[in-house]
Amino acid sequence: MEQRPQALARAVEGDADSFSRLIEPLLDPAYRLAAVMLADRSAAEDAVQEASIKAWRRLKQLRGDATSLRPWFLSIVANECRMYRRTRWWNVIKLAEVRAPETEARESHTDLHRALLRLSPDECMPLVLHFYLDLPLDEVAKALGVSASAAKSRIYRAAKRLRGDLTMEEVF
């Protein structure tokens, strides 16, 4: 099997197949991030597809080695989600329509779920990266485009909004 650095080098040279192979393992985490940020599964798949194309076009801008690919790609996905929400303003209506009945209908929703629905997409992002996708702190920081200590504090702040009595030790 082709090694990741070699595949990356070939992709940078314009080999679409190599890039597709590199990106494939990242599609699932990318989709999960987008699905939380957009709260719309179909839109999340669209966002991942668009982000993949953008990543392919901007691959030469990737700094670092193959290990930087995941946070870099996830940051593109997050940007795509933000753009999707900004440009498709009617999604706000759509989300409101979808979310409200869902939350009312499903009485099994926990307090945590209800608290999560109150977070903005940008507040959700560090939680998804850290807890759900299990990224190490330095990768979370790269994906957020901030320092490691800033990433840590964003994770903690968002987690505190979900459960007010959490301590730093319980989060990390």
């Binding site: 314009g14 679409a16 890039f19 597709s20 990106i23 494939e24 599609l27 699932d28 989709y31 999960r32 699905a35 939380v36 709260a39 599964r41 999340a44 798949e45 991942v48 597809q49 993949s52 194309i53 392919w56 076009r57 926990t110 945590l112 779920h113 999560l116 939680l127 998804v128 807890f131 759900y132 987690a159 979900l162 459960r163 959490l166 030790e169 319980e170 989060v171 990390f172």
Partner: protein, 243 residues
Amino acid sequence: MSPNEDFRRELNNVFDEVTGSPSPALRDRVRSAITEAPAERSTYWIAAVAACLITALIVGILYVNNPFRRPVPVGPGPTPSPIVSPSPEVSPTPSLPPFICSADTVQPGQQSHPPTAYISGVRHAQQVGYDRLVIDFSNGTSEKGVELIPQTGTSFDGAPSGQPTVTKGTNGIKVIIRDADMHTSYDGSRDIVTGYATLVEIKQIEDFEATVALGLGVNGPACYRAFYLTGPDRFVIDVQAAS
């Protein structure tokens, strides 16, 4: 189970509930989208080139129309010269005469001329390759034209007092406007130090018996080009910068 693990497990359950799983077709969608993407790369390249060309075109139009290079209406002289509207660039500039370094009298056009032309403003501006002086008239230009006399040094004779008028600079251009006055419509400075590299000072030598003389203090050779513009009536002197 530690509180951390408990929180993480509960949170991940919520995330699972929100996201579900991606459709099996996502991988193929992405792969085919990437395969088709390179063609669009050239579109972006073309768009970038088009954007550059449009920018160059706009800059060119702005440069030709010259909207940013209006003369500074107020010089740093002892008192400011009055601002007279509009700037010399309002009417299209005719094909400009060449720079010369000898005496010349520039005649106005064939329009009617007042018995005495009233100077209403003296303005100056710095341009690439020359410094510009603009003399505004409020009631039309003098029929007798404007005489320009380059000279070595900056001591100008001809003041009614008999004393020479001295300006800054190394050389000078004496500007004589006959059938004109500089006190009916003009209340600006009669000694303007521009701070420019070439045209360093504009000083009134005389304003007596319908003759106005100005001394231009110049750094470098006293070479110039001069011409009239209309709408409003004004006389322009471009002093050539030393190369």
